[in-house]
Chain length 272, copies 2
């Protein structure tokens, strides 16, 4: 399908555009039959940038077809007023709520540029970077000392999604997330590996459908026993029975995004 036949969508923001994009993209999923062509215009912080954005949108409209949709998260009403002229379909994701919020809080808003992603509280920034450093340093393996320092320890077979989840937990929740891969050695005797016993309360299991695991492993290491369906089935079954026997909460990651795995863990473990 050519660009011209898709509905044009613009995301306009005065900072990174992440908020505009997340909410806008979420709203668009409600219209699965329409093909959208998305353009991001971040850092629209002054009237000049706003007029340039309007010119870009006008140019897209001139191609013919329906008027573009424009999602904006702009904190400066003067800049928003300029963007509002760009299309009959401008969705002001931010300003829409400011007046009712002012009424609820009986306070005027400051109209300062979105500080959400600013470095703001440097303590928050440092906790985040320290969590990331901890997580990077404790991927795929642990020492007993690490267990005391970790906020959460993910356990599961190789390639079930532990590492991306740990990184997300560190990046977005500033959690020191370690992980421990379950291997054949750990399955002898069906008991919890000795190193994990002192941190039983921090353990969270990840599991995955064996067919999917086999596919993922094959891409990484196509030869040998590692990726065979039989081996994947056996490992997953042993991991799941360990989780059940030891009362470790666990989640099947097969059809779940990294964001959802992380949010589920944070909720289940009461970590927020």
């Amino acid at each position: 399908m050519s660009v011209a036949s898709k509905r044009r969508v613009f995301f306009i923001s005065d900072r990174t555009g992440i908020t505009a994009e997340m909410l806008g993209a979420s709203l668009l999923t409600q219209f699965p039959d329409i093909d959208f062509h998305r353009t991001h215009i971040p850092f629209v912080t002054n009237e000049l940038a706003a007029r340039a954005a309007v010119a870009t949108i006008d140019k897209a409209s001139a191609d013919g077809g329906s008027p573009p949709l424009v999602f904006s998260t702009l904190t400066d009403p003067a800049i928003q007023r300029i963007i509002a002229t760009s299309s009959p379909f401008v969705f002001d994701l931010f300003g829409t709520f400011i007046e009712p919020l002012e009424a609820a809080l009986e306070t005027e808003s400051s109209h300062t540029a979105g500080r959400m992603h600013g470095i703001g509280d440097s303590g928050v920034y440092e906790r985040r970077v320290q969590a990331l450093n901890f997580t990077l340093g404790h991927d795929d393996g642990l020492s007993p000392r690490d267990l005391n320092e970790a906020d959460i320890v993910l356990v599961g077979v190789s390639r079930c999604g532990k590492t991306p989840t740990c990184l997300y937990l560190a990046m977005h929740y500033s959690l020191r997330a370690a992980n421990y891969p379950l291997t054949d050695d750990d399955f002898e005797g069906d008991a919890l590996p000795k190193i994990l016993r002192p941190c039983r309360g921090k353990l969270y299991g990840l599991t995955i459908v064996p067919e999917q695991l086999s596919r993922i492993r094959r891409e990484r290491r196509p030869h040998g026993d590692y990726a065979t369906l039989a081996r994947c089935r056996a490992e997953v079954q042993q991991a799941e029975s360990m989780f059940a026997a030891e009362n470790i909460p666990y989640l099947d990651t097969t059809t779940v995004s990294i964001e959802e795995i992380a949010a589920t863990i944070v909720r289940d473990m009461g970590l927020h």
Copy 2:
């Protein structure tokens, strides 16, 4: 300040709550003089969960003080109607835009639960995990082969923010982000290190105020020359003159969040 004297805020969502939290938190930054006490209730996917959420909010209201603020991103109107009874100040961040969007698109919305963070397109998921694996495998150092595979190569002195930025670029933009730390060896002669020459078009520099760099380094390695202000000043100055001499775009990360550094790089390099 006690919890009771803060204004209570609830974030209600049917999935992870990330969208509700980001937009809600961004809106609240417009009221810097008010202290908020935030509670997250994710995965409100049915009427039972919605009634439990309302009960939680009611309990908070019963503490006295002003009614809580409630931010919701719920796709099911029936569940939203239940949440709407919880406070006079419910902000429906999602539903508010659905009707105007239906009008703009001349289509009814599907009202399916937010699929934004679902695994959805498994190709997207795999690109993301591959980008993360690449980035993890190419932190702090490179081989010439890696340069061909990278989408972006961050350069800068040790501890200026390269690693967290690379991880964010991989996690959120599915970019294969490598990084190369500039050390004393690289500063002899002021020319671009030989290994970086073939990928000049992929280079992006990060820099930082020397005082901040010294503070960060001191936490990591308090003794020796590494963290001294004199050494930090010299390294930063040499890195910046290399960026200037070689026409490498660069950004000062001192007061900028990881999200903003990443969004700026993506914009400057035309990577979206």
